[in-house]
């Protein structure tokens, strides 16, 4: 099928009749945002969707609508002329009528088709023509809106369905099924005969038992293989996801550590702040005494005053007593004078002088001799004795004198004074400095608070980084990232185990199948006695061989077909990525009988996180390959229509890509804003390099950006 022309009339921004002609190669439709690219694609989809069989008032050109007079009618239509076993045409249209200022009605919806046979043109229904020439299944693999819709092959059944649809392999199925049935029936018949045959009866029963057993074993092993493959696939896909997030996981771990460290930092500042227990410091650090200095002073002054007063009173008391003692002695003196004798006091002369006078027998007071035995001599001896007696009496009197009465009996004031001294000096100084300490500590607390605020800010930064990371790996939870890190190793081990088990199971299956074959051979080599059994034997052997031949042929064809797709796809992939890394496309058949497309590195390792452009070129290559094979096998060709397929491409890759597509002999219609610079100007140099047809679609100048009815797409053929 080759699309030759598409005409859009009064469909949304396409005002009036707008026509595109297409060649069998590449056609580019270049337009900027809002210029009508997607409308082009939507118009085509509307036309080609047989399920859409009604008028939609939203599809009418606003500009045309606004021009309609009341009662006036207009046609809205999309039509396509194409070659597919001769020229054909389809057209979807309806009529719109303005019934009053604000109301429009639609009617006369039609979906018509024409096909040409020879020189004649026959009308058919549009629906039947589409179903016949370009059904929704083919459309699914032909029309792609945006890059992301290219992933149609992610559906595991997609390739199988394509193979079924596009290759003739499916035709084998009927034969495989039929010959399988013949083989089974002839086998059953033969086995039945053998069991009834006396000669083979015993062995046939044994073989039947063995066959049942081996069949069961084969089924079980196959089931185990399927299950194990599923597990291995599951682990592989998990590993793939994990590897995709590996960088994020590692970054997450780093951030987690950082957050933990910063949280500890915050906690440390918080605990430093809370350790500043200012209320209990009033007691524990005696801060409550910060204002105590005046009271301490008062106390010390009071203690000092009491002390002074006590000393004063004591001194007074002592003086008084001394005075009283002095007066007694004077009285004593006065009383000795009163008895009429004139005598020296008892202490004159002193003891030494008296002894000297007695020894010299002379009175040295009056100068007269005082010989021994004289009165004068006796007087001196008596005087010395009196002196000695006086001394003794004084000493005795001193000893016997009653204790003097004290003024103060207690020493409480001294206690106060001692306390006053102990609270003075450095202690008084400490108290006077307390207020300074408190204010210093309050200032320190403020510093701690500022540090805490900084630490909290840093923590928030790390938390923000984490949040940003989680946004980047959209859909992956924090727990998952955490788990990923731990699980990656585990999944590798599990996958390894599953793969090892698969090898074992496949070996088991191979052995069981060999055993089955052996049992069947033994069945075949039985030598039944009855001629009927012998006939059955031969028929069964022939039918089994035929059945196997069909199965092998089907398998061979399928493998070859997939291999061809793969080879072709890789050729395209290489061409589309001439100067870039592209990898190798591998079509892998699974045990579930589906086929997956994988992009591998040349060393056979899967590319876990291919870039957008790698994926796009991979899918396109497969599409081109399938399209090639379809045209060569079935002599059918389908256009490939892409709306903005290269959004993930860089400038260089983009031009290379178009140059390649341009050279491929395949009808491709690409709607794109590539080749436009920031101001919407077309890059003519690049366009000049292409050989294809190029259209520029553009909003007509002078539109009002708030009024849809002023928007109109103008089509300009550039090449």
């Amino acid at each position: 099928m080759i699309i030759k022309n598409l005409t859009i009339k009064n469909y949304r921004s396409y005002y009036g009749e707008c026509s595109f002609d297409f060649t069998s190669g590449l056609t580019l439709i270049i337009g900027d945002n809002g210029d009508g690219k997607t409308t082009f694609f939507d118009a085509l989809k509307w036309l080609l969707d047989p399920a859409l069989e009604k008028a939609d008032i939203n599809n009418i050109s606003e500009m045309r609508k606004s021009e309609l007079e009341i009662g006036e009618v207009e046609t809205v239509s999309v039509s396509m002329t194409f070659d597919h076993d001769g020229e054909k045409m389809i057209e979807k249209s309806f009529i719109v009528e303005r019934v009053n200022e604000d109301k429009y009605i639609t009617r006369s919806f039609s979906f018509k088709g024409y096909e040409t046979q020879g020189a004649e043109r026959f009308p058919v229904t549009g629906k039947s023509l589409i179903v016949r020439c370009f059904d929704s299944f083919i459309q699914r693999y032909s029309m792609f809106k945006g890059e992301s819709t290219l992933n149609v092959f992610d559906d595991p059944d997609a390739l199988k369905m394509l193979v079924d649809k596009l290759s003739d392999i499916r035709e084998f199925d009927e034969y495989v099924e039929m010959t399988d049935e013949f083989e089974a029936k002839s086998g059953t018949a033969y086995e039945k005969e053998c069991k009834n045959d006396k000669k083979t009866e015993r062995e046939a029963h044994i073989l039947e038992g063995q066959k049942t057993e081996v069949n069961a074993r084969i089924n079980n092993t196959r089931r185990d293989i399927r299950d194990t493959e599923k597990s291995a696939d599951l682990f592989a896909s998990r590993i793939e996801v994990l590897e995709k997030n590996q960088e994020a996981s590692e970054r997450y771990q780093e951030l987690k550590k950082l957050i933990k460290a910063r949280e500890e930092d915050v906690l440390q500042w918080k605990s430093r702040i809370s350790a500043q227990n200012f209320n209990v410091n009033l007691l524990d650090k005696l801060w409550i005494l910060a204002s105590f200095s005046p009271i301490l002073k008062e106390f010390r002054e009071k203690a000092s005053a009491f002390s002074k007063e006590k000393r004063r009173l004591h001194d007074l008391f002592v003086a008084q007593r001394a005075k009283e003692e002095g007066r007694q002695e004077v009285l004593d003196e006065i009383s000795s004078l009163a008895n009429g004798t004139s005598r020296l006091p008892w202490y004159l002369p002193d003891q030494e002088t008296m002894q000297e006078m007695i020894d010299d027998e002379i009175c040295k007071v009056c100068g007269r001799p005082a010989a021994k035995g004289t009165d004068a001599y006796e007087f001196m001896v008596a005087k010395l004795n009196e002196f000695k007696k006086h001394l003794e009496e004084k000493k005795k009197a001193q000893e016997e004198k009653p204790k003097e009465e004290e003024l103060f009996v207690n020493r409480y004031i001294e206690q106060m004074h001692n306390l006053s001294i102990s609270l003075g000096g450095s202690k008084a100084q400490d108290i006077s400095e307390l207020s300074g300490t408190i204010y210093d500590r309050l200032e320190l607390l403020e510093t701690f608070k500022r540090e805490l605020a900084k630490a909290e800010e840093k923590l928030q930064d790390a938390l923000d980084d984490k949040a940003r990371l989680l946004i980047q790996v959209e859909g992956v939870t924090e727990e998952q990232l955490d788990l990923d890190f731990q699980n990656l190793k585990g999944f590798f081990e599990q996958k390894g185990k599953a793969e090892k088990r698969l090898v074992e199971l496949r070996e088991e299956l191979r052995k069981a199948e060999a055993l089955k074959k052996e049992i069947e051979d033994r069945y075949d080599s039985l030598n039944p006695g009855s001629s009927m059994a012998k006939v059955y034997q031969k028929v069964h052997i022939i039918l089994r061989n035929i059945s196997e031949a069909f199965k092998e042929a089907k398998e061979f064809n399928l493998t070859r077909f997939l291999f061809e797709i793969q080879t072709l796809a890789n050729e395209y992939l290489e061409r589309l990525n001439t100067q870039d890394f592209h990898g190798i496309i591998k079509l892998v058949r699974t045990s579930q009988d589906t086929t997956e497309i994988r992009l591998l590195s040349t060393n056979g390792r899967a590319i876990t996180d291919p870039s957008g452009s790698q994926l796009t070129t991979m899918y396109m290559s497969v599409l081109f390959a399938i399209s090639d094979l379809t045209s060569s096998k079935r002599d059918e060709n389908y256009p490939l229509i892409f709306d903005a397929p290269t959004s993930s491409f860089g400038g260089m890759k983009e031009s290379g890509f178009y140059n390649i597509i341009d050279s491929i002999e395949k009808q491709c219609i690409i709607v794109t804003k590539d080749f436009l610079d920031d101001r919407g100007n077309i890059d003519e140099a690049k366009i000049d390099q292409l050989t294809c047809t190029v259209y520029r679609i553009q909003k007509e100048a002078g539109f009002n950006q708030d009024d849809l009815s002023t928007i109109r797409t103008i089509i300009t053929p550039i090449k």
């Binding site: 204002s291 301490l296 103060f408 609270l423 003075g424 207020s435």
Partner: protein, 195 residues
């Protein structure tokens, strides 16, 4: 002769029972006996006497006393004699601060009208017991003023003492300006040290 200080320290001053719930049990672990950190968590102070000390200093710094109710039934004690105040070792992060007793005693001597001369003379009208009675009464009256003051603050704003550093802030108001403070330190240095 037993020291006046020791006689005083054996006493257990009283306060009005009405403050038990709103103040003693709210800010201290009054009535819990031995206090450990885990039990005191959430309370600002530990033993009940800590609140008494706080209240005493409030009265002292305002230099205001208030007589306690005469009804003995309406009074309670701190649970521990003064000699143990600030000594408890099982306080976790807290520190002992027994030295505060010396200062309380000194303040009471300074502020109580007692005739120490008569006491030292052995005047039968001025016995150590009577002097200590007067000191303890003064102490209770200062604390009583402080407790009423705290109660007033709580009536005005129930959260007053729960705010950050509330007790410290209360005492910061008594701290004189820096210059006065230096002057006072100088004055105290001038005091005679010897008998």
């Amino acid at each position: 002769m037993e020291k006046l200080y020791d006689l005083w320290a054996k006493r257990n001053p009283e306060w009005e029972k009405r403050f038990e719930e709103p103040i003693f049990k709210t800010f201290a672990d009054y009535g819990k006996g031995n206090t450990s950190l885990s039990e005191t968590r959430g309370k600002i102070f530990g033993a009940g006497y800590e609140i008494f000390i706080i209240a005493f200093f409030i009265g002292l710094y305002f230099d205001q006393t208030r007589k306690l109710t005469d009804d003995k039934e309406e009074r309670k004690t701190c649970g521990q004699a003064i000699q143990y105040w600030g000594n408890i070792e099982t306080r976790g992060i807290r520190q002992t601060y027994g030295a505060i007793r010396d200062y309380i005693f000194a303040a009471l001597i300074a502020k109580t009208d007692i005739d120490l001369i008569a006491l030292d003379k052995g005047d039968p009208k001025v016995t150590p017991r009577k002097v200590v009675d007067a000191l303890v009464e003064k102490m209770e009256e200062y604390a009583n003023f402080g407790l009423y003051y705290m109660e007033e603050q709580l009536i005005d704003n129930p959260d007053y003492f729960f705010r950050d550093k509330a007790f410290l802030r209360l005492f910061l108001q008594f701290i004189p300006q820096q210059k006065e403070e230096e002057q006072q330190a100088q004055d105290s240095d001038d005091l005679p040290e010897e008998l």
